[in-house]
Amino acid sequence: MRKLLFVLTSLISVKSLAVARFPKPDFTSGYEYPDIVHGLPNESFWNVLDVVLLVGMMGLVVWAAYRKRSRAVIFSMSLVSVLYFGFFRSGCVCSVGSIQNVIIAAVDGGYHLPLYVLLVFLLPIIFALLFGRVFCSGVCPLGALQELINVKNFRLSRSVSVTLSIIPWIYLAFTILYAATRSQFLICRLDPFIGIFRFGGDIGVMSFGFVLLVMSVFVGRPFCQFICPYGALLSVFSALSWKKLEITGKGCVNCALCGVSCPVDAIRAPQSNRTKEERRKGVRRVIVLSLLLPVLTFVGAKLVGSQSDALSLAHKDVYLYELLLRQEANPELEEPLEVETFHAMGGDMAELKEKVDAVRSDYVFYSHLAGALIGFVIGFKLMKLSLKRGRKTYEISMARCTMCGKCFNYCPQNLKTPEK
């Protein structure tokens, strides 16, 4: 091994002097050096167009959903989004992924957050606060792709869909953990549809994408409902939105057709005809659950926090450090490329150890935070389930509604009646 090290270090040291090994040729035939030809990026124009289209398309969806109640407009927006944001711009930077840039910018003062990335992150949230999840509807290429191929809606049972809807929050928690510690961009790595937009990518992630696509023929938007962390974020803002989407402007007749049409189970049936539960029982349950909430938060923080050292292996430096330690313990093993390069470049073990310790202490904090978030969300979902609202008509749950516009066409009140 020592011999190998010597060869490598000598190679590297030669390399730094490499420029003068052969003298510059003195041409006598009047030869002139050709210039290096390379294509320059032209990003700024496309970035401006991205933001303009983002706002324009979200505005159109708002108009189509609130004014026209037209699915046709929303559907064509989906097509435009898949073609432009998906295939033409090949999906980067998207709002879903921009969460990570924003997190890093918030924790790391030296990180540069371009203005358009911030806008791509903020604009859908602002729209959600005003009108609901307009972005999910026909602007997000990931959602639009599933929307375009959705044919049938097999309804999942409520308990299954509520349980699965915790996944986006777990995903978000780990995204925050990995982004804040500068380890990796989890959302970008696991984006299931980017491989389709780019005609190639990691085979595992791509096949997962295909499974999701096949699923989305039969179940409405499986990615948006049960995976997307940005959707989870938007649903919070959407639940508090200024305007509420209504299926019809002419008053509900309780025909239940809209409830059947909804692909994401966002339409809540009236409950006025059900037997009311005893008030004391309900109050007691809410009190118990609100006591459970901090307990769950604490348990979650402790559980994930206890794994912080194992989680920190996702960081490149920590991983390298562990590899180096393993190599030191078993010198007979074949050297991995990382270790070889570390030694060849004259890496300092003590310096690396310092870095690793800093990263690990970051991990202790952020893994507790991520665990707390997961625990809190589970507790909150339990509380939300236990609250029963009295409804007299069919209503849209703004948190879940992705504004596909299917219910508009199902509602008999929206039919154009011939003038008498």
């Binding site: 190679l11 590297i12 390399k15 730094s16 490499a18 420029v19 090994r21 052969f22 510059k24 040729p25 041409f27 006598t28 035939s29 030869y31 050096y33 050709p34 290096i36 390379h38 294509g39 320059l40 990026p41 990003e43 700024s44 090949s90 980067c92 930077v93 990570q100 840039n101 910018a105 918030a106 003062g109 540069h112 957050l113 371009p114 203005l115 990335v117 911030l118 903020l122 602002i126 606060l129 990796q184 961009f185 970008c188 790595r189 980017i194 780019r198 190639g200 990518g201 990691d202 803002f237 508090l240 939105s241 200024w242 490149k316 490329l337 990382e338 070889e340 390069t341 570390f342 470049m345």
Partner: protein, 181 residues
């Protein structure tokens, strides 16, 4: 009903306020600095490990070989063109360093040859770069072609690069070249 509406309005305003506040806070971070958005390889850090060829998200990597003619020695026996220890200096495939035949050479004058890279054939494997930096002037180097690069949020090659040679640069230095010497 009234109480619920009141709570809802309050939390709406809270959420709106929070969004505006965090938006404003982030805006202070977003403004006033030149963007570092473009991925580039530092050719002086690169160890030609070969991962650029295999780890790019594109099927054919966006990393290509570039040639700094001003650094090149225009040698006949080129470490990037021929494999080490070749018997015949001809263009038979077993003598060539480049597996795809992307390096072309042209006679300039005695004893100099000009080398050019056919970028459409280059896969970014770095074999020629390794040969050139080990035995020659190091005029061949790997670099990310900005026309092909998707500018991923996180470069998939940077994540596995053993020498941390890939970093983000700003637009005015979108290429890290080697021919300034």
């Amino acid at each position: 009903m009234e109480r619920r509406n009141f709570l809802r309005t309050c939390s709406s305003f809270l959420a709106g306020g929070l969004t505006l506040a965090s938006g404003g806070f982030l805006l202070t971070k977003a403004n006033g600095r030149k963007g570092d958005l473009f991925w580039q390889i530092d050719p002086y850090k690169c160890t030609q490990c070969g991962r650029c060829e295999t780890d790019c998200v594109l099927t054919v990597s966006a990393v290509k070989c570039f040639h700094a003619n001003r650094v090149c020695g225009y040698c006949d026996l080129c470490g990037g063109y021929y494999r080490p220890g070749v018997k015949e200096l001809d263009t038979a495939a077993e003598n060539m360093m480049c597996p795809t035949g992307a390096i072309r050479r042209e006679f300039v004058e005695e004893p100099y040859f000009e080398y050019t890279i056919d970028e459409s054939l280059c896969t970014g494997c770095g074999k020629c770069v390794k040969g050139c930096t080990s035995f020659g002037n190091g005029s061949l180097f790997l670099q990310i072609d900005q026309e092909k690069c998707q500018q991923c949020n996180e470069c998939a090659i940077a994540r596995v690069c053993p020498s941390n040679a890939i970093e983000r640069v700003s637009y005015d230095q979108a290429y890290k070249m080697k021919d300034h010497a």
